[in-house]
């Protein structure tokens, strides 16, 4: 199966009202090209699960400005003023989850596990309404797994069958997001022939990856800039 597709075909895979699992920590490890496609489209009522909403006007921050989003699920929205504003104006629903709980919930979603008991957030506002359980004398809360319709992830390189390698800390949420979406689209800087990635360096095996798109941005001076 040919996994490499162009970004407009990838956009067609996304439906209004879908839940998107989006990799990235700040802008690092974010599928910038696919997010541009969505921001320039009429897609609406999307729910995004991601650690944060990029930065003001960048990455997922663009989707906020272009009105594609209904809801955001993540751990840290305070640094994007637009997200705070949209929430205050009632234009964006936000569900706040501790960062480690978010990562584990998505991991469980991809691993066929319905939920898990964690000690994080016990006794806090973020545990309100959640089932408590004492296991071996310690109190935990139940967190449900998170799954998505589409995973949008960013890797450094793919091979033609969809094995992925990442750039340093750009791996972040991408590896778990790759497992928990019905359709997984990986945006990469470069595609090489199968066999060219050393098995020891592959982090995400091709079983998780349905489609590959090429990143239109190029890295200059350590940051992605639009190529001319």
């Amino acid at each position: 199966m040919e996994k490499l597709i162009n970004t407009s075909k990838a956009l067609d895979l996304i439906n209004n009202g879908d839940t998107l699992l989006v990799g990235g920590f700040g802008l690092s490890g974010t599928p910038l090209t696919m997010l541009d496609e969505i921001a320039n489209s009429e897609k609406h009522d999307l729910t995004v699960v991601s650690n944060n909403l990029g930065e003001t006007g960048k990455g997922l921050g663009k989707l906020l400005l272009s009105g594609n989003l209904k809801k955001a699920v993540g751990s840290y929205f305070t640094t994007n003023r637009d997200a705070v504003q949209a929430w205050s104006d009632g234009e964006l629903q936000i569900e706040l989850i501790p960062q480690g709980t978010l990562a584990e919930a998505v991991r469980c979603g991809g691993a066929g596990i319905g939920g898990f008991y964690t000690k994080t957030a016990v006794g806090t506002k973020l545990a309100e309404g959640k089932e408590e359980k004492v296991i071996d004398g310690k109190t935990y809360i139940l967190e449900k797994a998170i799954k998505g319709d589409i995973s949008l992830i960013k890797a450094l390189k793919a091979d033609t069958i969809g094995n992925l390698v990442y750039d340093h800390t750009a791996r972040n949420f991408n590896a778990v997001m790759a497992s928990a979406g019905k359709v997984v689209i990986a945006e990469v800087d470069e595609i090489v022939e199968a066999g060219e990635l050393h098995p020891l360096e592959i982090v995400t095996p091709h079983a998780y990856v349905d489609y590959i798109v090429l990143n239109k941005y190029v890295k200059k001076g350590g940051a992605y800039v639009e190529s001319v």
Binding site: F25, G26, P98, G100
Partner: protein, 217 residues
């Protein structure tokens, strides 16, 4: 507002608590100053976005937006560094594989329960890894000013700010004093400025006991 020299004083005192070879997660603010005051002690710094073995800030030409700290600042990798994904990073944090978390705080109660993520009445839209660190690190040291910007004591009888979890801090290190938390409550163990015990009592809202106080001025 705390002067830079007082911030450094807190960082230096925290650095004394840390032991060679420990795995340490540094929060934002004063904790980020600590690596400069280790006096040759070798630590392994954990960054929750997926790195164990964080090194110093790179030269401008070696900056890579895909090698960053949890504060989203460019970093380098130390000898022996390893990279992993976010779920593994929180296995490390929540699972008790990080020796020490050094955190800031908005308030700490008399038993060491921490509030460090939200202010009442304001929008609560960010928690990050704060609650996971509080729940999972083997030892928790709070590095903070004794009083908030409005002059109110951060050490309080009962938290007014939302709690970060049931797990309690071990130590609170401030510009004036070091406090230890036990099941009996707050214990003053060290004075770091020219403040008297009576002045400390006036400043903070918590009864504290003391036996053997170290006075460093």
């Amino acid at each position: 507002m705390l002067s830079q020299s007082e911030r450094i004083k807190i960082a230096k005192r925290v650095a004394e608590e840390l032991k060679e070879g420990q795995i340490v997660n540094l929060g934002v603010g004063i904790p980020t100053l600590i690596p400069d005051y280790l006096e040759g002690k070798k630590l392994f710094l954990q960054s929750e976005n997926g790195l164990l073995g964080m090194g110093p800030t790179p030269d401008k030409e070696n900056v890579n937006m895909d090698l960053i700290s949890a504060s989203k600042k460019p970093i380098t990798m130390d000898t022996g560094a390893s990279l992993f994904d976010s779920s593994d990073s929180f296995v490390m944090i929540r699972g008790g594989h990080v020796d020490v978390a050094i955190l800031g705080a908005l308030q700490v109660d008399r038993y060491g329960e921490i509030a460090n993520w939200a202010v009442p009445g304001k929008t609560i839209l960010g928690v990050g890894g704060a609650m996971d660190l509080v729940a999972g690190a083997k030892q928790i040291i709070i590095a903070s000013t004794l009083c908030a910007k409005d002059g109110k004591s951060k050490l309080v009888e009962k938290l007014h700010f939302p709690s970060s979890g049931k797990r309690r801090a071990d130590l609170l290190i401030t510009e004036h004093a070091v406090f230890k938390f036990t099941n009996e409550g707050t214990e003053l163990i060290e004075i770091l400025s020219d403040i008297s015990i009576e002045q400390l009592r006036d400043m903070i809202d918590v009864e504290f006991k003391y036996n053997d106080i170290k006075i460093i001025t």
